[in-house]
Amino acid sequence: MPDNFYDEVLLDHNLHPQHLHELPCATCSHAGMNPSCGDEITLHLSLQNGVIEDASYTGVGCAISQASADIMLDLVIGKTEEEALHLKALFSKMIAGEITEAELEELEEAGALQNIAKMPARVKCAMLGWRTLEHMLAPKG
């Protein structure tokens, strides 16, 4: 039977993550956590002149938190901090069910997580990587 529990893209990123590794050249790292489900993700960013030159994550979590972080890093590596924060805003809009078709295109593979909005218990998992990224990039007052 066509048996996959999650979207193919999501399962693939979970089973074969590209960015799950240490990052020796990281300029900053930050741990994000979902205490209720035990997801723990540490993001590592190498920031040069406002651009995310390289990035990775380490830690353990459910398929949704892992795949969402992996897809996010595909998207934001090579982008400016501003562009990355813009994508985070779009991702939040998508989860809230308020995104337009054009905006959804910008999110590329992250669009695979659109249906998470229908699983309220999993929204936190999908957001974990993005929330952590935002925390690291948010303009420091």
């Binding site: 529990f5 035990g38 459910c62 949704i64």
Partner: protein, 406 residues
């Protein structure tokens, strides 16, 4: 099979005919008899208990106090003065930590806590240790989830004032030799606090036999409504403890400057009590007693063994704790290789099966075991073979549905 074992006595299963409910360690479903008892209390006996000088209030008081008598008899306590109604096991443990703990535990003392404890039997002691400057020690268990009497003896110091341990672990389902532990503790002058949240609903528990100083449990894990729980304490200890909460119906005499407090057990039951919940707990105890623990254990053990034997056949599935199915008391925590427990639970949910995933409020234990979290299925007597078979069918598909070949 006793007719009260049947699921049909539980209205939730009429509401959701396809539901397989295997999260009984978190809370149990309620039989019609318990719901009727609560309803009867509010329809025919409701007034503020212990206060009003009129017929209805006397009825309310009788309902409430007869529930206390039923609890006393159920756990073999000497006196109703030893039975304090609380909201749940967590509140009971907090009561002991705040009242007994703050009076008797000082800087330089030690508190010993079993590493497998639920957060509710760990955090009150962690906070108490921080506030008083006492040391907090942990007793470590074996892979089977059991503590040995030797380990306990070695962990106790002359300064250990209190030992907190669950009779049945909510993660492993393992049953500790509480009676032996109590003897060892008492020889050392240590008070033993026993969390009975997972044992009182499933095995006969007698405080007289166990000789524990405090025993706590929750009504909602044993067929009763949420919001009613029990603290048992030896009378001599309770008598010497200061009140935990202050307010109505726990006083004898109040002036502008001071007050004298009511006798046990009312000293610890400030404010209007949960008489409806107590009536429900009374009905739950009657329900359990009418079936009898022999039948309950037989039913739950057969289901546990059925699940265990099938689970160990499934590649990638690992059961935490003892590899003897008879040592689990209906609690089977497990992992599936390569699949996070949160995803496991989501897959079960999609198939209409309720199980728990996470650290089951036992984070230090999961760290000790070297795993971030686990999934848990837990059985009650009203589960049946079909529930277990559906659980197993889904468990067999988990790795495949997560994209693993084979």
């Amino acid at each position: 099979m006793h007719k009260l074992l049947n699921k049909q006595n539980f209205p939730v299963f009429a509401q959701y005919p396809g539901l397989v409910y295997l999260d009984n360690s978190a809370t149990e479903q309620k039989p019609q008899a318990v719901l009727d008892a609560v309803s009867h209390y509010y329809c025919a006996e409701n007034a503020n208990p212990l206060r009003g000088l009129y017929d209805l209030s006397v009825k309310a008081t009788e309902a409430y106090e007869s529930a206390r008598a039923a609890v006393r008899d159920f756990i073999g306590a000497k006196s109703e003065r030893e039975i304090i109604f609380t909201r749940n096991a967590s509140e009971s443990l907090n009561l002991v930590a705040y009242s007994y703990g703050r009076k008797h535990i000082r800087s330089g003392d030690a508190i010993l806590v079993a590493i497998s404890e639920h957060h509710s039997n760990l955090l009150p002691w962690q906070i108490l240790a921080k506030e008083t400057g006492a040391e907090l020690h942990y007793l470590e268990c074996g892979r089977d989830g059991l503590y040995t009497t030797e380990a306990l003896e070695a962990a106790l110091t002359p300064n250990t004032k209190l030992f907190a341990v669950a009779q049945i672990s909510n993660v492993f389902g393992s049953e500790q030799p509480i009676r032996e532990f109590a003897e060892i503790c008492h020889r050392n002058g240590t008070v033993i606090v026993c969390d009975g949240a997972q044992s009182v609903p499933h095995i006969p528990v007698s405080v007289k036999e166990l000789d524990v100083d405090f025993l706590v449990f929750s009504g909602h894990k044993m067929l009763a409504p949420m919001g009613i729980g029990v603290l048992y304490g030896k009378e001599s200890l309770l008598k010497a403890m200061p009140p935990f909460l202050y307010g109505g119906e726990m006083i004898e005499y109040v002036t502008r400057e001071s007050a004298t407090f009511a006798e046990l057990p009312h000293k610890f039951e400030a404010g209007t009590v949960n008489a409806g919940g107590a009536a429900g707990l009374h009905a739950a105890i009657d329900y359990i007693r009418e079936i009898g623990f022999a039948e309950i254990r037989q039913a739950e053990t057969a289901l546990t063994v059925r699940a265990f034997d099938a689970m160990v056949q499934i590649p990638g599935v690992r059961i935490l704790g003892s590899q003897n199915p008879y040592a689990h008391h209906g609690i089977l925590s497990f992992t599936v290789d390569g699949v996070h427990p949160h995803d496991i639970a989501a897959i079960f949910d999609a198939d209409g099966i309720a199980i728990r995933a996470g650290h089951h409020c036992a984070q230090p234990l999961h760290r000790f075991l070297g795993i971030p979290s686990s999934a848990r299925m837990s059985i009650a007597f009203y589960n049946d073979d079909a529930d277990i078979d559906r659980f197993i069918e889904t468990l067999k598909t988990v790795r495949r549905r997560m994209g693993y070949a084979g």
